[in-house]
């Protein structure tokens, strides 16, 4: 059901409470929700039912492209485009081409790693409804938040609040959209 709020935000002081709440919410059938913590928390994503991150795949592809591209560039330059007799070596001196191939593999992999992360996290995104949640600033210090979003099919302002209260959060607030 559609409402004019982003969702309900429960604030916890303890990471374990958050973990429990997240797990329960998931078992209770909630799907569209997210948790906010001041540091990475193991298993939290799993509890929320998120699939594995796709960053590794992106990095792998980029690295392979970078590497092959790098080798091709050197081979093309030295053998095809302008073959020159350098120090009597063969034109295709493959051992000499390895360092640059390697470096380009790393370079493109790393670039893809960070950009991929930002992309998957939809960043940069300076404005986000959750910032409206009261006391959310502490989310980057020492408080733990669970937000069940109004877009969730099972979301119901009253029922969901009741559900969240069962985990005794220090505070439950409506996050304006």
């Amino acid at each position: 059901m559609k409402t004019d709020i982003h969702g309900l935000m429960a604030e916890f002081v303890n990471v374990n409470e958050l973990l429990a709440a997240a797990k329960a919410a998931r078992d209770h059938g909630y799907r569209r929700m997210d948790a906010y913590t001041p540091f990475p928390v193991e298993d939290l994503a799993e509890h929320l039912g998120r699939k594995k991150s796709r960053v590794p795949l992106i990095v792998l592809i980029a690295a392979i492209c970078g590497g092959t591209g790098g080798y091709f560039m050197q081979w093309y330059a030295a053998v095809i485009d302008y073959p020159l007799n350098v120090a009597g070596r063969p034109l295709h001196t493959w051992p000499a081409f390895i360092p640059i191939t390697f470096e380009l593999t790393i370079l493109s992999g790393a670039l893809a790693g960070l950009l991929g992360m930002l992309l998957l996290n939809r960043l940069p995104q300076l404005y986000h409804p959750v910032f409206n949640a009261p006391g959310f600033a502490r989310a980057s210090t020492d408080k733990f938040f669970l937000c069940i979003e109004s877009s969730d099919p099972k979301f119901d302002l009253v029922a969901t609040r009741k559900f969240l209260e069962t985990f005794r959060p220090v505070l439950i607030s409506e996050v304006p959209a």
């Binding site: 001041p38 540091f39 990475p40 939290l44 994503a45 360092p99 370079l107 670039l111 980057s140 020492d142």
Partner: protein, 468 residues
Amino acid sequence: MAYTAQTGPTPDSPKTNLADASAMPLIGPTETFESVTQNIGGIVLTQKPPRSWFFGAGVAFILLMVLLCAISWLLYRGVGIWGINIPVAWGFAIVNFVWWIGIGHAGTFISAILLLVHQQWRTSINRLTEAMTLFAVACAGLFPLLHLGRPLVFYWLFPYPDTMGLWPQFRSPLVWDVFAVSTYFTVSFLFWYAGLIPDLASLRDRAPTRRKKVIYGILALGWRGSAAHWQNHQSAYLLLAGLAAPLVLSVHSVVSFDFAVAIVPGWHSTIFPPYFVAGAIYSGFAMVLNIVIPIRKIYGLENYITARHLNNMAVIMLATGMMVTYGYVMEAFMAWYSGDVFEQSMMANRAFGPYGWIFWALILLNVILPQALWFKRIRTTPATLFFVALAINIGMWVERFVIVITSLQHDFTPSAWRLYRPTFWDWATLAGSIGLFLTLLFLFLRVLPMISIFEMRKLITEKPGGRA
């Protein structure tokens, strides 16, 4: 997952010392999420910088100006202002380059390799050392450009669509250098920034003024610390570490190729890559200690950078130091064992020739003095450790001098042998590059959290009874 708190296995470090080292805490017992955030974030958000910061930054800035003068004069007159000649066509520029690149390595080693082998103690120093890496590589990057006879056309070393239909000569180690160093700088930067994002978010959320909120806010890119964010972040961070780790080994190997690929006696040696990498980490940790020890004192960070950190770094220095020593021994041994007249003559000249005293200074600084690190008292006493680290830093610079100069000065053709004497401008450029390094470092201390806050929080959760 289980964290084991102990240093990685290091061949030359005696077990006993390490055992009680691991007993030492990684973080003060009283620390909480709030306190770490406040103490570390506060330094850049609220505190006025200590008087010593202004003093240090002032000195650094003066040296930076020296660098500017040296560079302007260089561009105006040409590389002839240095002491280089034929046969010694490479002088301080290359020595400094290798030295700075080496120093950078500790940063990547700490943040990447120690992360991969789950060394918790890295957390309180990795941010600072990564920054150090960036600045050191920036300094290093200067020299290959400056030492060109025609710096105006440095871009010919990159492949780009030109009007001549020409390419770089990809068989040259110098071109490998170009790719290695630029890759190294980029990856280090990405790694560093990836780690910064969550902390930038904390700064954003605690910033006292609107201006700071906006600046840190933009830099944080809207980080929310959501489970999804953390999931991708941790995955990416680990991958970057995985990619950076081989860089630690590759970059200085490539730098060593500048010498190993050449046929010059004293350069042309298969032991160079490992020996350079070890040397790089050796000098890198020395530089970390030279920076960290004063800082933790000035900013009162003893709770985060504890005696245990110092100890562990000292142990790594000891280990890499022994590897470097092995390198020296092997060089001499191979010269004798190969029966190659040129190698032998070079080695004899290196030890007993006109630059002999520098060689022995190197042995003293890099081999003899560091043996003090066998004693735990020395490893855990900041003052003594600082002194040893300083010795090693100088020693490693001298090592590069010995490798570059003495080999060129006395190679195949006796009629061409000549001495090399550094000029004022050689020294000015070296001092200036140190100025650049320190200036960047002081700015960093002023505007960014020098310790990874979110990782400290994680540390708290793991310390016994650490739940805040």
